[in-house]
Amino acid sequence: MTRMTNTADVLAVASKEWRALLGQRGFRGKTGIVLFLAAFGIILPLQAGRAWITSPSLAIAWSWVPMFLVSTVIADAFAGERERHTLETLLATRLSDNAILFGKIVAAIGYAGALTLASLLLGEVAVNLATWREGLVLYRPTTFLTMCALGAGGSVFVAAIGVLISLRAPTVRQAQQAVSGTIVVLLFLPWVAVRLVPVEWKRTAIAAAPSTSQLAVIGVGALVLLDIGALAFAMRRFRRNRLIAD
C-alpha cells in the first residue's frame, strides 16, 4: 500500500513537471519538441538512409541522446522552483522527500525517454517510406535493447547528478551551466583515461576481453551500479529542512 501511494505521489509530481514543461514557451516547450522530432526523427534519418537503422554503432550513437535531453530539463528541477518561489510551498505539502525527488527524476527521464523513442520510431517510418523499394528494415532487437539499456542507465545517472547540482544552484542558468559542464567532463573522462593507458596494456586488455555482448552486459552492469550510487547520494543530500535553512 505504501509503495502504491508513494508511486502515486511520484507520478503526481512528475505530471506537474510535464505540464509545466509543455507549457513553456519557445524552444524549451512544444516548439522545441517539434523541432527535435523533425531533426532526429525525419531530417537526419532521411539523410543517413538505411544506415540510420542498420549501422552497428547505432546503439552507442543513440545512447547519448536521452542523457543530453535529461540534462536540458533536470537543471530546472529545484533551481527553477527556487527561482520562481514555488519551492517552499511544494515542500510544505504532505509529499515525502523521496516522492518529490523521484518525481523530478522520473519527469526528466520520462521526457527524455519518450522523445528518444518517438524519434527512433519516426526515423524507422521515415527511412522505410523513403526506401520502400528495398524492403522493410527494422532495428535489430539486440541493438535496440542495448540502446535502451545504455540510454536509460546514462539518463538515470545524469538525472541524479543534475538533481544534486540543482539542489544547490541559486538560479536555473547556473544550474544548467554546471550540469552541462559536469556531463561533458564525465563523458570525456573515460575517453581521456583510455588515451592515457599505455598501448601494450590496451593490446593485452583487448586480447583478454570477452565477447561484445559480454562487454555490453559488463558496461550496463557498471552503469547500474553508478546509478544506484548516484541516486543514493541524491536521496541522502535531499532534506527539506536543509533546503530551507540554506
Partner: protein, 310 residues
C-alpha cells in the same frame, strides 16, 4: 479535535550567531484566527517554518495538532495548509490545474477535486477564470487562489504568512473579508502572520506580538489595546504652528504628535498625559476649541511593547 492547535515551549531557532526566534512559549486554541504580529524580520516566517517542520528548532519544542514538529513533521503537513511568503503558484498552469495539482498531492479522487475546485473558485468569484493561465493574473487574484489552494484539502489548520502584503487597500479588504468568510465556513484554525495591525484587529480572536524573535504578549486584540493603558487625543483650535507640534511631541507623556489640517493628533504614553498637553498648549498661546479622546488601539499596544523591548 485537539483543543489546542499549536503549543510551543521555549521554541527557538538560531542561524549562526543570529537568534531568529528566542524562547517562544505559546498556545493557540483550535477553531480561531490567531494573529502573529510583528515588524519585518521579527521571526514570523521562521515560526511558521518551524511549525511546519520545514526548519528544525535549535531550542525548545513545538506541537502542532498534537504532533511534534521534529518527530512527526510529515503528519503535520498532511493535516495543514499553507500560504507562505510567496504565493507559490505555478504560473504556467491554469487556476484549475494549480488547485487540482495540490488535490493530487493530497490524494483526493478526481471527482472530489473537480467539485472542490468549483466550490472554492465560485466562492472567490474566480470560477469563470478557472481555465486561465495564472501568470497574467493580478497579485490580489493570485493571493486569493493561493488561499484557496491552502484550504483545498480541508486542513484543520492553515498557516497564512502575510496574505495581504503588497496588495492595494481595496484588494486587501476584499481578501480579508473572503478569508474571514472562508475560515468561518470551513471551521478551521488559522495562524495568520501580519504587520497590518488593522487587519489583525478585525480578523483575529487572539493575537501575539513578536519582535526581534521574542514573543512580547498574547491576548485578544481588544484586551491588548485596553491593556496598553494608552490613548490618543485629537485637539482642534487656533494658533497651531510647527513649533507647537514639536513642543508637544517633546513632552514626557507624549509618544507622538502630528498635524492633521487644523487638528493636532497626540499619542499618549500615560493616562495623565492629557493634562500635561493642555497645560503646555495654553502656555504656548494655543486656543483650544475641542478635545476628543480615543481609546488605545492595537497599534498603540504594539508600539508600546516594541518600544519597551528596545
Amino acid at each position: 479535535m485537539n483543543p489546542i492547535a499549536i503549543r510551543t515551549a521555549s521554541l527557538g531557532r538560531r542561524f549562526g550567531a543570529v537568534h531568529a526566534l528566542d524562547d517562544v512559549t505559546l498556545e493557540v486554541p483550535s477553531g480561531i484566527i490567531f494573529g502573529f504580529l510583528g515588524p519585518n524580520g521579527s521571526g514570523k516566517t521562521t515560526t511558521i517554518r518551524l511549525l511546519l517542520g520545514l526548519l528544525e528548532a535549535t531550542e525548545g519544542s513545538a506541537q502542532v495538532l498534537g504532533f511534534d514538529t521534529r518527530a512527526d513533521a510529515a503528519a503535520i503537513r498532511e493535516r495543514t495548509g499553507a500560504l507562505l511568503e510567496h504565493c507559490g503558484l505555478y504560473e504556467r498552469l491554469t487556476a484549475g490545474e494549480n488547485l487540482g495539482l495540490y488535490g493530487r498531492f493530497w490524494r483526493m479522487p478526481r471527482a472530489d477535486r473537480r467539485a472542490r475546485t468549483a466550490e472554492l473558485l465560485s466562492l472567490l468569484d474566480l470560477y469563470d477564470r478557472r481555465d486561465e493561465i495564472v501568470g497574467g493574473w493580478s497579485r490580489g487574484m493570485k493571493q486569493q487562489l493561493a488561499i484557496a489552494r491552502a484550504l483545498y484539502h480541508r486542513p484543520s489548520l492553515v498557516f497564512l504568512d502575510e496574505p495581504t502584503a503588497g496588495l492595494d487597500p481595496l484588494a486587501a479588504v476584499a481578501l480579508r473579508d473572503r478569508l474571514a468568510h472562508l475560515a468561518e465556513s470551513e471551521g478551521i484554525t488559522v495562524f495568520l502572520t501580519t504587520h497590518n495591525l488593522a487587519e489583525a484587529e478585525r480578523l483575529c480572536t487572539l493575537a501575539g506580538i513578536v519582535n526581534k524573535g521574542r514573543l512580547l504578549a498574547v491576548a485578544p486584540p481588544a484586551q491588548l489595546a485596553a491593556g496598553s493603558g494608552l490613548a490618543s487625543i485629537e485637539i482642534i483650535g487656533t494658533g497651531l504652528t510647527d513649533a507647537v507640534v514639536e513642543m508637544v511631541a517633546a513632552l514626557p507623556a507624549v509618544s507622538s504628535a502630528r498635524r492633521d489640517g487644523r487638528a493636532l493628533m497626540v499619542g499618549l504614553t500615560s493616562t495623565g498625559g492629557t493634562t500635561q498637553v493642555i497645560t503646555a498648549l495654553a502656555t504656548a498661546g494655543y486656543q483650544i476649541e475641542t478635545i476628543r479622546h480615543t481609546a488605545g488601539s492595537l497599534e498603540d499596544a504594539f508600539r508600546a511593547l516594541v518600544e519597551a523591548q528596545s
